[in-house]
């Protein structure tokens, strides 16, 4: 899509100032559904509900009010869809191209030179969905709650490596202060993690905390909870917790508020417009245009949702139903269902990342997996085109785990190295890795005399094509002299095995193809998701010191560089440092990829206007909420 700077955040401040200046000049209007409430006096007039300087959202066309957006949740616990659709309203947000941060609840901000202090100015007069003003007191309360050990959360607010403190200047001005430089804080705040800070209203939530209500414990008990903390969590679940959407009383700042809550028995979760929503279109009409959301809850299977989409009963959706196998079906059904397909560019770079456990507890395996020649040999032994043809009907291209072509960090050499299928070259590399002897089946013998056999953990329930791909790879690698065994397991076990360190390899998709800088899990030992170097990652971020291991020098160098990235205050400096990290990744080749993740698609009803024909899809860039569904409308 584009290769220029994705996170040009210095420009953000300028954009912020520009957008703040562009206030609405025209008459303010509201949805006809609210007219009667205003006439009867139950609701103040729209001018009083909107902030002094509402956020203006520009759509392709000015829309009209009304309608219900129908979609489907997969199973009861699908809070992910809700977050990605409704809940993305934080202090700042990303623009549609996922390049820079733009104002949202905050109308402007400044960053100091060493990226330790971030000064924000809130939009004046923004109100919660219950009509009470949104001020710095709410933010201070949220920080207090997140840092309360009894209200266990886990986010950047209570990140023990670099916790934030919030200094309130007045009702609308405040400063986030960090002990250490946090150069990527603006990206964090603009991404999905930003919603943590704006998810708790002090007026409502403080009534469950003993600091603000001395009867909190007794009231919790009366409500059937063993402690006030559990009751508080039940009523005021933070961020994107599932049960957050089970409490319709919880005030929010989002465009739609809960009408039928998400409970274990809900067959449908419905939402209605927030009369106090603080955004308008270019003509000053209060947003959103669409009055209601209707999410049918499937019982865990997506067959019914697929049929519903084909039948034109889904207005816009990508999640769950847009699978590779369903694509021909949806393509053929466009006319009958009165919808069309939009383009969705995934943020993942790779369809399958084979992560050999470089920190294996077995010294023989550890030495072998850490040998770069062994990994190169495996990579050359894979016939990627065959996999692409068989499993992905020709979609995609051979690709390593590297930033996608759409990313500023795209490097063709990194993306394409060792991807050609070449058994002779593979054999040479295996020999260089010390594998010379073979057994009767043609499998190489490791230094301890055992055949080289890699047990690959995979969760087929998550992506059924992984099993298909691995079965092909199994044959290809066996021909090259390496045996792989598929170990299809449940997710819980998959995660449980990591700290123990005795797994051979695990398989996942290539996260960090676009948001490489924020999600560098495959480029260096960054987080728990860097399964290939789990124990080195622990050394880096200090989460499980008991199993942390000192990394090899090149990984330490990358970690050092990444710490500099965090401290750098300009995007150019960060990009320069990150390119150095990627250069080391290219040199060391830690994980093996198969093919570029092909584009996905969305289902868009033909009468839905302003919806994106093309969008990125990522968790950190929560789609479609990041594409402003507030200005979508039905014709």
């Amino acid at each position: 899509m584009r290769k220029d700077n994705f996170f040009g955040l210095s420009a953000a401040v300028a954009v912020a100032a520009m957008m703040a200046a562009a206030g609405p000049a025209l008459a303010q209007q509201q949805s006809p559904t609210l007219d009667e409430l205003v006439t009867s006096g139950a609701l103040p007039p729209v001018a009083e509900r909107l902030p002094v300087n509402p956020m203006v959202v520009e759509g392709d066309s000015v829309g009209k009010y009304g309608g219900t957006w129908r979609m489907g949740l997969n199973g009861g616990g699908d809070n992910g869809l809700i977050v990605k659709t409704v809940a993305y309203d934080s202090l700042i947000r990303f623009d549609h191209e996922w390049k820079t941060a733009v104002p949202n609840l905050a109308e402007s901000w400044e960053v100091n030179a060493d990226a330790t202090e971030f000064t924000f100015k809130l939009r004046e007069g923004v109100k919660w969905s219950d009509g009470t003003p949104f001020t710095t007191a709410d933010l201070a309360f949220a920080v207090e709650m997140y840092q309360d050990p009894d209200y266990a959360a886990g986010s950047w607010i209570d990140n023990k490596n670099n916790p934030v403190t919030l200094e309130v200047i007045d009702d609308y001005n405040f400063i986030f202060k960090f002990g250490k430089p946090n150069g990527m804080f603006i990206e964090t705040l603009a991404g999905v993690d930003g919603i943590h800070i704006t998810s708790l209203q002090k007026a409502y939530c403080s009534q469950f905390h003993p600091t603000y209500n001395e009867n909190a414990a007794a009231e919790a008990e009366a409500a059937g909870f063993s402690s006030w903390a559990l009751y508080l969590q039940d009523r005021c679940a933070w961020g994107w917790e599932t049960i957050r959407y089970a409490n319709p009383d919880l005030p929010s700042l989002n465009a739609w508020v809960i009408e039928t809550p998400l409970t274990a028995n809900a067959q449908r979760v419905t939402w209605t417009r927030n009369p106090y929503y603080w955004k308008t279109d270019v003509e000053g009409n209060q947003l959103p245009y669409i009055d209601n959301l209707d999410m049918r809850v499937s019982q865990g299977g997506v067959e019914e949702l697929t049929l519903a989409a084909l039948n034109g009963e889904i207005d816009f959706q990508e999640r769950h139903i847009a699978t590779t196998t369903n694509k021909p079906l949806f393509f053929d059904g466009q006319e009958a269902g009165d919808y069309h397909l939009g383009e969705v560019i995934p943020s993942a770079s790779n369809t399958l990342v084979l992560q050999l456990n470089l920190n294996h507890l077995d010294p023989v395996k550890r030495e072998l997996y850490q040998n770069k020649d062994f990994r190169i040999g495996i990579s050359h032994a894979i016939d990627r085109q065959e996999i692409i043809d068989v499993v992905f009907t020709g979609q995609g291209e051979p690709f390593q785990v590297a930033p996608r072509p759409e990313s500023t960090f795209y490097d063709e050499e990194l993306a394409k190295q060792y991807t050609e299928f070449d058994p002779d070259l593979a054999a040479q590399h295996f020999e260089a890795a010390g594998l010379t002897e073979r057994n009767g089946d043609g499998i190489y013998l490791a230094s301890d005399g055992n055949p080289v056999k890699i047990t690959v953990d995979v969760i087929s329930a998550l992506r059924p094509e992984w099993i298909d791909m691995l079965e092909i790879m199994q044959l290809q690698l066996a021909a090259a002299g390496v045996e792989i065994e598929l170990n299809n397991i449940d997710r819980t076990l998959f995660y449980e095995k990591r700290p123990a360190g005795e797994f051979d390899a695990q398989v996942w998709a290539g996260d960090g193809g676009i948001e490489a800088l924020q999600e560098p899990r495959y480029y260096f030992p960054f987080s728990d998701e860097s399964v290939w170097a789990y124990r080195w990652a622990q050394w880096f971020n200090g989460t499980r010191p008991e199993i942390a291991e000192e990394p090899v020098d090149w990984a330490k160098e990358q970690m050092d560089l990444y710490n500099q990235v965090r401290a750098a205050s300009t995007p150019e400096a960060r990009a320069e440092l990150f390119n150095q990290i990627l250069a080391i990744t290219k040199e060391q080749f830690p994980v093996i990829g198969v093919s570029l993740m092909p584009n996905s698609y969305s289902i868009i009803r033909n009468n839905l206007k302003n919806a994106p024909e093309s969008m990125f899809n990522a968790w950190l860039f929560p789609t479609p909420a990041s594409m402003d569904p507030t200005v979508w409308y039905f014709e």
Binding site: G154, I243, Q267, R268, Q299, G300, E304, L307, D528, T543
Partner: protein
């Protein structure tokens, strides 16, 4: 008879205690606990969790305690009618399952009634008119019914309904009736939706019943008492219905005990596919997320249903077959 029931009742209670221990142990067998799968879900959405946070939660939820302590807490709560809290939904378990169990029993109960109404006449017909055209049709139908998995039949039915009529079969109500109170229009709406799952759920059972009934009845029809009855000039329908059918029902009645738990567990995949708000999908999900009090409660209730069902079938058997009544003495 009273002694017989009391004796069975005591055995029932002991069985339940044993089953509850086993159920609770089985749920705890997989590695990890609810919080592991919780972290897994968070990591998958891109979130990072501080291990200390998890440790706090583990203490809060009492997950760090040994098995017997957790079991004892759980079971003593249940004796007082408290099934514990669901971790995932942060709600009392009982509140979550009663509605779903209701739908399970309603749907499967209807399916059983349909099953018996369809299978009994066909089974009797197939036995009496052995090797007739009707018998062959029933046999072929029966084999297909047995061979096609329920969920697959459901998929076919949904596909056909979609391509032929342009409707999506699924759920139990239209949107406007989902949260309404029970009324005549709602009952009608329910029936217009429920016929499909009932058809699917009763199909395999019907086929099985036809085969069992036919085989049993064929055995009975050859016996001398039938010949005697016929020789004494009883009308043919009476000859068949009065004695051989009654005896042929014996194996059917004795499996009532399995019918009740099948009401809940037998329809898991069908419910997932057809989007039915029954207890099955909830059990499935609670097991994968290791929401142990929720899973434990459902499994325990299934066991209760089994033992109650067994008691009922024992009583029924004693009623229809004197040999069993005497045998118990």
């Amino acid at each position: 008879m009273v002694g017989f029931i009391i004796q069975r009742f005591i055995a029932m209670l002991l069985t339940l205690v044993a089953v509850s221990i086993v159920a609770f142990a089985i749920i705890q067998l997989p590695p990890g606990d609810y919080l592991t799968s919780y972290i897994a879900a968070l990591s998958a959405t891109g979130d990072q969790v501080d291990p200390r946070v998890i440790e706090n939660l583990r203490i809060q939820y009492g997950l760090g305690e040994p098995f017997y302590v957790q079991y004892f807490k759980w079971i003593s709560g249940i004796v007082q009618g408290n099934f514990g809290h669901s971790f995932e939904w942060k709600r009392p378990v009982w509140e979550l399952i009663w509605g779903r169990l209701g739908y399970s029993i309603l749907l499967e109960g209807l399916a059983v009634i349909v099953m018996w109404f369809v299978a009994l006449p066909i089974g009797i017909y197939a036995a009496v008119r052995k090797y007739s055209l009707g018998d062959y049709l029933a046999t072929i139908g029966g084999f297909i019914g047995l061979a096609v998995p329920n969920f697959f039949f459901a998929l076919i039915l949904m596909y056909l309904a979609f391509t032929w009529f342009g409707t999506t079969l699924g759920g139990l109500f239209s949107p406007e009736f989902e949260n309404a109170r029970w009324s005549l229009p709602r009952v009608w709406d329910f029936l217009t939706h429920a016929w499909a799952p009932i058809l699917v759920l009763s199909m395999a059972g019907t086929a099985e019943l036809i085969r069992i009934l036919r085989a049993n009845l064929l055995d009975e029809l050859k016996k001398p008492y039938v010949t005697t009855a016929r020789a004494k000039g009883l009308p043919e329908w009476k000859v068949v219905l009065k004695y051989p059918v009654r005896l042929a029902l014996n194996p059917l009645v004795s499996t009532i005990g399995w019918l009740l738990p099948a009401l809940v567990s037998g329809s898991v995949i069908v419910s997932v596919v057809m989007n039915l708000p029954t207890a099955g999908p909830m059990l499935l999900r609670s097991l994968t997320t290791q929401d142990m009090y929720l899973a434990g409660a459902i499994i325990l209730l299934l066991s209760v249903l089994t033992v109650i069902g067994t008691l009922i079938s024992d009583i029924l058997l004693a009623l229809i077959d004197p040999r069993i009544r005497y045998g118990s003495k």
